[in-house]
């Protein structure tokens, strides 16, 4: 455990704090490790609440402004909680040409969801991602860990129904 007081946060459990301490200790001496620490911490908590970023800042001895600057620069990092299932919509060119826009509209209309948003029951979050490199399957949507190909406006709702 790091020799530091842990702030209270409803979304961060004791176990999570322990893992985060390990992540910080592992990377303390490593130059350039901030992005990796933020990524691993986000994997643990699900997002980056500001108390967590402050905690990382003092743990790595990097200024708060730098941590916040990096966290807001990269699209991977989120400062708001996510839904149980994250819908990642590929907005690459191939998916666009193949009609991902219509798919997105169908999701938005059904779940009242925009990019970066989460449904009120925290069932889904939706994010746009840059090309996933699965252009052969375009249009592509990733729900949680599952990649779905050929996702047209007609079949997206059936796919999402499988995720409770």
């Amino acid at each position: 455990m790091l020799n530091r007081e842990r702030p209270e946060h409803p979304d961060i459990t004791l176990d999570m704090w322990n893992i985060i301490d390990d992540i910080i200790t592992e990377n303390q001496q490593k130059p350039g490790a901030l992005i990796a620490v933020l990524r691993k911490s986000q994997d643990v908590v699900g997002y980056l609440p500001s108390v967590l970023m402050d905690y990382i800042s003092s743990g790595l001895n990097i200024s708060k402004s730098e941590v916040y600057g990096v966290a807001t620069f990269y699209s991977l990092f989120s400062m708001t909680p996510k839904g149980r299932h994250t819908i990642k919509v590929c907005m690459g060119t191939a998916c666009y040409v193949k009609g991902i826009k219509e798919t997105v509209e169908r999701i938005s209309n059904e779940y009242k969801l925009c990019f970066g948003g989460t449904t009120s029951d925290r069932r889904f979050s939706m994010e746009s991602v840059r090309c996933l490199g699965a252009c052969g399957l375009a249009p592509v949507v990733v729900v949680g860990q599952d990649t779905h190909g050929d996702v047209k406006a007609d079949n997206i709702l059936n796919i999402l129904n499988r995720y409770e």
């Binding site: 130059p31 350039g32 490790a33 901030l34 992005i35 990796a36 933020l38 990524r39 730098e66 600057g69 990096v70 620069f73 990269y74 699209s75 991977l76 990092f77 907005m91 690459g92 060119t93 191939a94 998916c95 666009y96 040409v97 193949k98 009609g99 219509e102 509209e105 169908r106 209309n109 991602v129 840059r130 090309c131 996933l132 490199g133 699965a134 252009c135 052969g136 399957l137 375009a138 592509v140 599952d146 990649t147 779905h148 190909g149 406006a153 007609d154």
Partner: protein, 623 residues
């Protein structure tokens, strides 16, 4: 485990020679078959893992486990037809295999020696003619695979299989028999130019870094494949990760670096897993780490994961990101060859470039430059996607024509639609219309028609694509990904986007076109990095070839491709409507009123303008 010597490499290659003769279909079938099942990202998504399970189960049940071996290979490249599998030595290619097909495959093909025709590939153009053998399918037979030579052939998680395909022989040669100077000479003579987009001669880059005096130098691999529509680097990393690592060992020896980083996109989890495994086994074998091949040369390689920023594909931004900072480019000079990562001399090479290096060292520069054009040597991997029948990765000699790539290998445009344009080079590239399809693809020729080679994304668009909307799409992408450091890119791309949105919404004014052009040239001239300088290309190239579409949007408030909802009437033309009811069935909001033998009518109150009916109607009857 003791480190391997060159004799060990030869022994492993010898031991596996029979297996590879079989897998390449060079020896006739006796009793053993290898089932090469694609296990790339694309085929995983379409279910190749469950196909493997049920196939293995069926093979075991039929008592064939001795004679039928399933091999998980890396990405085969023909992603749209996944899950893909090739049975050798028969050479049979199966597509879209489902777990339920396992029984039939095993009974009919593996037991009865009668291949299953319904799972074979059929020619999209020639009346669905079935082509059983991989080597006869035009998509494969018209390619020349060098960088992709191991795709669909080796198990990427087995270092021995890579060695059996001459793996690490080049690294041994470079370290034991060559000096930095002779390596650089060989790479220079091969004429290879960076495959990441800019096309800078690789050997020259290495020479600059070699000449830079410093105790600490870095060799970096750019695996931040950000261009939407390009997935060759992902495929190489998934199918043949050791080729990239071997390329890095040779590059490190050339410039005398002992630290290496592979900067890989976090969006490619499978590639990262296989790379890490490859680094670990290469370390165990003594090809990475200390005293490689007993020559006293050390090299450590680490993976550095990106965090989702397109601009990090730019070299100085990538290096800032490896340092844990915001990925913002900086002005050059100083160039990275003098001051790169942590202000030390560094080289950054693309995945495809590094994967080409071992073969250049092993086969010589003459072999490499025997194909290609005057200024662009070797082969290039292109990622075909969009409105084309054969979606996937193709490798052809530099200088092949766009027409051959799209029609001969790509199989043409699906659904009997017409070719409209091909987008080359990602968001920094341009759209090339039909009259330039005979352009030979090399670094210089492509620029002449207003596009760039870029990383090799080839996105084909049919006549249902609106070019103004495409320009808007790219500008939306670029302004989102602009890092914000320099004003021309941050503000300029936003203004370009606003004008394009205005045109798409039907509020365009005639003077907008001149403003678009002027602003584009200002951004090109004044932006800090490659991202900004090339950002206006999609606008300029569509203005150059499809100006009439812009004018139709502005003057007639009409979108010829029927993609911009604000310019559509959402009315069915009774003359063209064939009363088939397809639109009625497809409409998600029940906004279409239709009965048998009646013209469909759209209820505008219920219509959400989703364009589903437009894409479904085969008769172009909705305006």
């Amino acid at each position: 485990m003791p480190k391997l010597t060159i004799d060990d490499l030869k022994r492993i290659k010898q031991e596996k020679s029979q297996i590879f003769a079989l897998r390449m279909g060079e020896i006739p079938f006796e009793k053993t078959r290898h089932v090469l099942l694609c296990s790339g990202t694309g085929c995983h998504a379409t279910g190749s893992l469950s196909v493997m399970d049920s196939l293995q189960q069926e093979i075991n049940q039929q008592g064939l486990s001795e004679n039928v071996i399933i091999v998980e290979t890396g990405c085969n490249g023909f992603c749209a037809l996944g899950p893909i599998m090739v049975v050798q030595p028969d050479g049979i290619f199966y597509q879209k295999v489902k777990p339920e097909d396992a029984k039939e495959l095993v009974e009919s093909h593996f037991k009865g020696n009668k291949p299953v025709e319904r799972l074979m590939y059929s020619e999209p153009l020639a009346k669905k003619k079935v082509i059983p053998k991989l080597s006869d399918i035009p998509f494969f037979s018209n390619q020349l695979t060098r960088v992709l030579r191991n795709k669909g052939l080796i198990n990427p998680e087995s270092i021995d299989e890579y060695i059996a395909r001459d793996g690490y022989f080049a690294a041994a040669k470079a370290l034991q028999e060559m000096t930095s100077e002779t390596i650089i000479e060989e790479v220079l003579a091969s004429g290879i130019r960076g495959r990441g987009g800019a096309g800078f001669p690789t050997g020259l880059k290495w020479r600059f870094a070699f000449q830079s005096k410093n105790d600490v130098k870095y060799v970096l691999c750019n695996a931040d494949e950000g261009d939407p529509g390009a997935f060759m680097d992902r495929s190489i990393l998934e199918a043949d990760p050791h080729s990239v690592i071997e390329g890095m060992v040779i590059a490190a020896k050339a410039i005398n670096a002992h630290e290496g980083f592979i900067y890989c996109r976090t969006e490619y989890p499978l590639a990262i897993r296989r790379l890490q495994l490859a680094i670990d086994t290469a370390k165990e074998y003594g090809f990475v780490g200390e005293n490689i091949f007993d020559t006293g040369f050390d090299l450590n390689i680490e993976i550095c994961q990106g965090a989702g920023a397109f601009v990090c594909g730019e070299e100085t931004a990538l290096m800032a990101s490896v340092e844990g900072k915001r990925g913002m480019p900086r002005p050059r000079p100083p160039f990275p060859a003098h001051q790169g990562l942590w202000k030390k001399p560094s080289i950054l090479n693309n995945v495809e470039t590094l994967a080409s290096i071992p073969q250049i060292i092993l086969n010589g520069s003459k072999w490499y430059s025997s194909v290609g054009t005057g200024s662009s040597k070797g082969t290039k991997v292109f990622a075909l996607s969009g409105d084309v029948n054969n979606i996937g990765l193709v490798e052809v000699p530099m200088g092949a024509s766009l027409r051959d790539i799209i029609f001969k290998i790509g199989g043409g445009i699906p659904n009997k639609r017409k070719f409209k344009a091909v987008q080359l080079g990602g968001p920094s590239g341009g759209c090339v219309p039909e009259q330039y399809l005979d352009t030979s693809v090399d670094f210089e020729e492509i620029v002449k028609v207003g596009a760039i080679m870029g990383s090799g994304g080839v996105i084909i668009m049919d006549d249902q694509t609106c070019m103004v909307d495409m320009a808007r799409f790219f500008m939306d992408f670029i302004q989102e990904e602009s890092c914000g450091k320099c004003t021309p890119c941050r503000e300029g791309t936003r203004r370009l986007l606003e004008i394009l949105e205005k045109i798409c919404e039907g509020n365009g004014e005639p003077e907008d076109l001149a403003t678009l052009e002027e602003l584009s040239y200002v951004i090109k001239d004044s932006a800090l990095c490659g991202l900004g300088q090339t950002a206006p290309n999609p606008v300029l190239s569509t203005l150059r070839y499809f100006r009439h579409e812009y004018e139709a949007h502005i003057n007639e408030k009409h979108c010829p491709a029927k993609r911009c909802p604000a310019l559509l009437k959402f009315e069915v033309d009774p003359e063209r409507c064939k009363m088939c009811g397809v639109c009625f069935k497809a409409c998600p909001t029940n906004a279409i009123i239709w009965k048998k033998k009646e013209v469909a009518v759209i209820d505008k109150e219920k219509c959400v303008k989703c364009l589903t009916c437009f894409s479904k109607c085969k008769f172009d009857a909705i305006d």
